[in-house]
Subunit: 322 residues, 2 copies
């Protein structure tokens, strides 16, 4: 993975530069856009009475900035719009304004690698009026230095350890629609605690009927016999999941988006999880047992390489002017 | 319901007095306790980075104040403690301090009828550290003038209209434990929209397997053949539900807390919903059809009378000194 070594070594330099800038730029460690103003992230506050806080009545999306370029920003905003429509929320400002503000936020912060977040909430309205068309939805945005859901050294050397949660199942689509990106993490947090209790880092949740769904903030992908499998129900249609599928297509791999029986995770050739905050993250230990040989597999490595290459492709990126 | 008429007529006078006080008392329309300070509720803000907002990683409880007395406050705090334990959260301050602050909050506001809320959140910690014992949990408290989930005139004259939701089911206990009072209302908000679309006010959610669970913020109780039925699974163990059961016992009624098949709601003698914010609320129309005769039933009326009488019983109340 020589190319990745170069990509990440350059990243390390940028992190060090950002750290130096934090002495003079109050936004370098994080920036938020609240009530039409930019504020240092750690000072940002939201109204207690916002239904986004009072009933988690909100949706959000989280695009990344890598090496000074937003990655697939339009896709994230489009998904946010779709999520809003499903919850009967509206983008409080036009998407072009949102895009402009996101770019300005990153530019002001001088972060060259960041994770941004756009949250649309129901707003400040009486609980019994939440369904009223009088609700004035709110938008909160913020960005912080790029986040690694799996540490970089772990993703590139040993891979991570996961469990299939047995004390909790994923919320079913008939209760909460997982294609609407949401922050109702009750089941996912239970999974995180179970993983920790069992000496692992990541929890994969089933649908309660023997099929894999997703984990806390990531999709699950299996490689078996040269075929890519990923659940297509009970989980978010992740942008990274989609990037993985595009990359796999380019590599000539067969792909099946369908029910993935949980037992397949114990007999597949390779297993990885994926999300915007970290990309492609190999799982080499499952329920305390090595996945295949316990090494990061060749298909996972190829996908990881191509995934990061996409971040330097103008088709998928929007450059930030600093 | 002569006794209730007197109770509510006195309440109306207190509401008018409070309204007059709002001219000089900035807390009379709502008060919050955030970061150790009392602030007018509409000015209260919470840190954007609190995991309570970022992942709804919190629990809460909501005791009422009626005619200058907290109602069953210890029971609410005990349930909050139990909810915290289940989520591996801790009360950030001792319960006696919490109690003292709640009383002070009400006293300062001069509200004699209020709904208070205590929220315990995971706190400000990196998402990947949410399960760490380093998380410093936060407590936010607030109170606002007493809330009626069903308008008073409606509860005492026509009763309300509900639907059994058919587009959404309640989150199953295997995903999120409904006995942990939470604000992950994704399924409940879907139910509220469905009720509105179908010309009703309240949504009753099933467990997806043909049994009733609860609705947005309330439990469901049926009366059939002189027996009280209420679900004991898939729903919150409501304090008002418990008060109703105590009252029913006092009235010599038989009670069954068990699976309640949804079809029973269409053939029972009386149907009501109950919550701290409003008490006992008769449902007289279900899916557009009259429940029994479409009138508020005699058992519901008796329970409502006794429920409000409990609010004047020293056993269950804690007086606020103003």
């Amino acid at each position: 993975m020589a190319s990745l070594d170069a990509v990440f070594s350059a990243y390390e330099s940028r992190v060090a530069e950002l750290e130096a800038r934090a002495a003079t730029n109050p936004f370098a460690r994080g920036i938020a856009w609240v009530d039409g103003e930019f504020v240092p992230l750690h000072q940002a506050r939201v109204p207690l009475l916002d239904q986004g806080f009072l009933h988690c009545d909100l949706t959000y999306d989280a695009p990344a900035v890598w090496d000074g370029r937003f990655f697939r920003l339009d896709d994230h905003i489009s998904r946010l719009e779709a999520s809003c429509a499903k919850l009967r929320l509206r983008l409080p400002i036009p998407r072009e304004d949102m895009k402009r503000l996101l770019v300005e936020m990153i530019s002001r912060s001088e972060m060259r690698d960041a994770l941004a977040q756009m949250m649309v909430t129901r707003g400040i309205i009486d609980t019994r009026q939440m369904t009223s068309d009088k609700a004035v939805n709110n938008l909160y945005m913020f960005a912080k230095p790029y986040v690694w859901a799996m540490r970089r050294d772990v993703q590139q050397t040993t891979g991570g350890s996961a469990v299939v949660a047995r004390t909790v199942r994923r919320v079913p689509p008939g209760a909460m629609d997982p294609t609407v990106k949401n922050l109702q993490w009750g089941d996912l947090v239970r999974g995180m605690f179970e993983a920790q209790d069992r000496g692992a880092t990541y929890a994969l949740l089933t649908d309660g009927d023997g099929n894999l769904t997703e984990g806390p903030g990531f999709n699950v992908v299996l490689v078996d016999g040269g075929v890519i499998y990923t659940p297509d129900r009970g989980c978010l249609m992740g942008v990274t999941r989609d990037s993985v599928l595009r990359v796999a297509k380019g590599l000539g791999l067969e792909m099946r988006c369908e029910f993935v029986p949980v037992d397949m995770a114990y007999r597949c050739d390779e297993l990885f999880i994926c999300t915007t905050a970290g990309g492609v993250m190999p799982i080499t230990t499952l329920d305390g047992q090595a996945v295949a040989g316990g090494e990061i597999g060749p298909v996972t490595k190829s996908i990881m390489d191509e995934y990061w290459a996409m971040h330097y492709d103008d088709t998928h990126t929007l450059e930030v002017k600093y």
